[in-house]
């Protein structure tokens, strides 16, 4: 209990260190403000017959506590742009990535993988079982996300990714897992009475295991 959930993707270290940076900055501000508040409350409690200082303000002090936090906030805004661009704006090269279309509907995740041709929406697409995703470790996965009914949100907490699945929109996101294992997909946008049980699973495995799995699913698919 406590602390950030362990991370397992290439986004993880960046997000977590930014979290820690903000925690340190806000932590210092927090201790300073609350400390002074409590200190002043004790130090300056009323004593009979005494008057408070008759001070209306101070121009220089106002300037100082406007400019300093202003610059800090603005630097923070600039500092984090890179991480955001990497996460949401610049997708990796498609030819080196696994392509998967994820379509959400009440209360299921449906994944369809690009087949050998490396393209989605073709004959050789591979339809994964409901609520199941697989991903090779250390290789980018590009997800094309949509929804068939209401808004859902594709959230893999350990990968530090979240993206709403919006009906009428195809939104692309990506991740690259750095550890093998099982990771849960949670729906993060209220989507109906079964919202809490809209749970999927990503299995991260070696590139070979991934290929084997994809081939097995494909074999079953054509077998039907």
């Amino acid at each position: 209990m406590g602390g950030l959930l362990p991370q397992a993707s290439t986004f993880g270290p960046g997000v977590d260190s930014l979290f820690m940076l903000v925690l340190i900055v806000t932590g210092v501000a927090f201790v300073l403000v609350e400390g002074l508040l409590i200190y002043f409350l004790i130090r300056y409690r009323s004593r009979p017959g005494q008057k408070a200082a008759y001070i209306h303000g101070n121009h220089k002090v106002e300037l100082a506590w406007t400019i300093i936090p202003g610059l800090m906030l603005f630097s923070l805004a600039l500092y984090q742009r890179g991480a955001w661009v990497t996460m949401k704006q610049h997708l990796p090269n498609e030819s080196q990535s696994v392509l998967v279309a994820v379509s959400a509907k009440q209360f299921e995740w449906h994944a369809t993988y690009a087949g050998d041709d490396g393209r989605l929406d073709t004959e050789d697409d591979v339809v994964a079982p409901i609520n199941i995703l697989h991903a090779p470790v250390d290789q980018p996965v590009i997800v094309r996300l949509t929804s068939q009914d209401v808004i859902h949100s594709f959230f893999v907490p350990q990968f530090r990714i979240k993206q709403d699945a919006v009906p009428g929109m195809n939104i692309r996101l990506w991740f690259q897992a750095t550890e093998t294992g099982q990771f849960e997909i949670a729906c993060a946008e209220l989507c109906g009475l079964g919202h809490y049980r809209m749970r999927g699973q990503v299995t991260v495995e070696s590139a070979d295991d991934f290929k084997t799995w994809l081939a097995e699913v494909k074999a079953k698919q054509s077998g039907n």
Partner: protein, 571 residues
């Protein structure tokens, strides 16, 4: 209600269909306190489910969830979450701040006899009454009350087959909020006009107490933002009832359009819910520190800055929505910058109590709790403004903790303080300060035990609005913490009985209040407690700013705004 004789009719005119701003303010106060209790009880149901999901509820379970065998049904949880948010925001915080304190205080603090439009004012309350009734009625329609969240994101809120609450319940929700919006709009026009036109002689804008400044800016926010909500609600109503597709992609509509319109209102609305509390806390802090408010003008300008920036940050609710990430970057920058005026206000509050002569009363403790918890609310928002971090914490309990530190920690402690501070002026009697402190300590401790752990849940990745977190393996370890929070929530709820006990005891048996029990400067304390119908027996003339505490010009440590000194001018 019956009207038998003419004597009773005059009672009706005086206390029910009154055009007196003070009576209307008190009507808003009582109605919003009723909804505060109701919203609080709904919160208890949410907390119970999160600590012990799907358990039979002893004693009250049959009454609450009779149909599903004393156990909460899966479709009920989103409905409870939706109504908790809706009621607390639209029927408690906004009406108690703008409706109750706005109405009661504006004419008294600016030295006016009443509002500029007393009948519009009465109508703004009486539009709330059908809104209340319609929302309450929605609990009893067959498919249940609205369940798409207080944000009512489409398409969930537009399509009746996607969740039971999106049947009749959602339609009633929309109609009720249309009435609430119209009421706010009438209030806003009235407040703006009153503050501009009816100030007493000598009350320049820069002699207004911060409470009035905050209510003034809040009214401007409401005036500009509410029509957008109204349009969005109407479009949603059309989509639901007459087959339009403004928000539905199946007919060429845009899902994200709802979010843009909704947050274009609802983000400024966050400031509608906090600015008046900031203003009132400023007045209480200066009064009980017996010291002029530090940086009066920077305080005013930062309210304006918050309001201005408040109109260009709505997109920060939509970072993960599918909105263009480039646009997200713009909203991130404006969001970071809106932290600045809040920081300036915090530093000025601190500097106000520095070298003061602090009187530790129940209203003062609540006002300081406002500052200390608002700081946590504000700082926790910076994590969400750091957009790569937001990807992780968006829609988790981090955000739930953040909003509750701002709205409960901030606004509600402000309201607790304001109730106790202005109670003598409203009712002519005092609330007991010792019981006020008991309520404060219990509430402050329990509040932090409920809401601080939410940040830890958020760091653990727990999404909001899920009926059973333990369905996920990565959340099972959080159950003991959720149980601790729930028990704290029960204590927090029970602690409010102390407030209500103290309130009603004060109302009937409290010590008679003098005109100015807190030795404050602002004009409402220069008239009787409670004030006569026309507020002031002689028109007040203002000679000073509102914060002339501990002035060397007088022997006392306060100097009422209307007290002339040799050489002081009214204009």
């Amino acid at each position: 209600m019956t009207t038998h004789a003419s004597a009773e009719k005059s009672f009706l005119e005086k206390y029910v269909f009154s055009i007196d701003h003070k009576v209307i303010g008190i009507q808003f106060l009582f109605s919003s306190l009723f909804f505060f209790c109701m919203g609080g009880l709904l919160a208890m149901l949410i907390r119970t489910q999160l600590a012990w999901p799907w358990q039979e509820i002893p004693i009250v379970g049959g009454l609450l969830y009779g149909k599903s065998g004393s156990i909460l049904a899966p479709e009920t949880f989103p409905a409870i979450v939706t109504m908790h948010g809706t009621i607390m925001i639209f029927f408690f915080i906004i009406p108690v701040l703008s409706g109750a304190f706005g109405n009661f205080l504006i004419p008294l603090m600016i030295g006016a006899k009443d509002m500029a439009f007393p009948r519009v004012n009465m109508l703004s309350y009486w539009l709330m009454v059908p809104a209340f009734l319609i929302m309450l009625a929605s609990f009893f329609v067959e498919s249940g009350t609205a369940a798409a969240g207080w944000t009512s994101y489409v398409p969930l809120s537009a399509l009746a087959d996607k969740i039971p609450g999106s049947g009749t319940g959602q339609t009633l929700w929309i109609i009720s909020l249309l009435l609430v919006g119209t009421s706010s709009l009438m209030g806003a026009i009235n407040y703006i006009t009153t503050i501009i036109m009816l100030r007493a002689k000598g009350m320049h804008m820069f002699r207004l107490p911060l409470t009035i400044w905050a209510l003034f800016i809040t009214a401007i926010l409401a005036l500009l933002a509410t029509p957008v909500l109204t349009s969005a609600l109407l479009l949603l109503l059309f989509d639901r009832t007459i087959g339009t597709h403004f928000f539905l992609p199946s007919g060429g509509g845009q899902v994200l359009l709802w979010q843009h319109l909704f947050w274009f209102y609802s983000h400024p609305a966050v400031y509608i819910m906090i600015l008046p509390a900031m203003g009132m806390a400023s007045d209480m802090i200066s009064c009980f520190a017996r010291k002029p408010l530090f940086g009066y003008r920077p305080m005013v300008y930062s309210i304006m800055a918050i309001a201005g920036l408040g109109f260009i940050v709505w997109g920060h609710h939509m970072f993960q929505s599918g909105m263009n990430p480039v646009l997200g970057m713009t909203f991130m920058t404006s969001t970071m910058m809106i932290a600045l005026p809040s920081a300036i206000k915090t530093f000025n509050w601190l500097a106000t109590i520095w070298r003061g002569q602090i009187r530790i009363t129940a209203p003062m403790l609540n006002a300081l709790a406002f500052v200390s918890t608002f700081v946590i609310g504000g700082l926790s928002g910076i994590f969400a403004a750091a957009i790569p971090v937001d990807v992780f914490i968006h829609d988790t309990y981090w955000i739930v903790g953040h909003i509750h530190y701002v709205l409960f920690g901030g606004s509600l402690f402000g309201v607790f303080g304001a109730i106790q501070y202005w109670f003598p002026k409203m009712f002519g009697r005092m609330m007991d300060d010792r019981w006020g402190k008991v309520h404060f300590i219990l509430t402050f401790i329990a509040f932090n035990c409920v809401f601080f752990p939410m940040f830890i849940l958020g760091m653990g990745g727990m999404p909001r609005r899920i009926a059973d977190p333990y369905n996920y393996a990565f959340l099972t370890s959080l159950q003991p913490m959720n149980q601790f929070m729930t028990i704290s929530a029960y204590i927090l709820g029970l602690s409010q009985l102390v407030l209500f006990g103290n309130f009603f005891a004060g109302l009937f048996w409290g010590k008679k209040a003098t005109n100015n029990p807190w030795e404050a400067n602002t004009l409402e304390w220069t008239t009787t407690s409670p004030p006569p119908e026309h507020n002031f027996d002689t028109d007040p003339v203002v000679y000073h700013g509102p914060y002339e505490y501990s002035s060397p010009m007088v022997k006392e440590d306060w100097l009422p705004q209307n007290q002339a000194l040799a050489g002081s001018a009214a204009d």
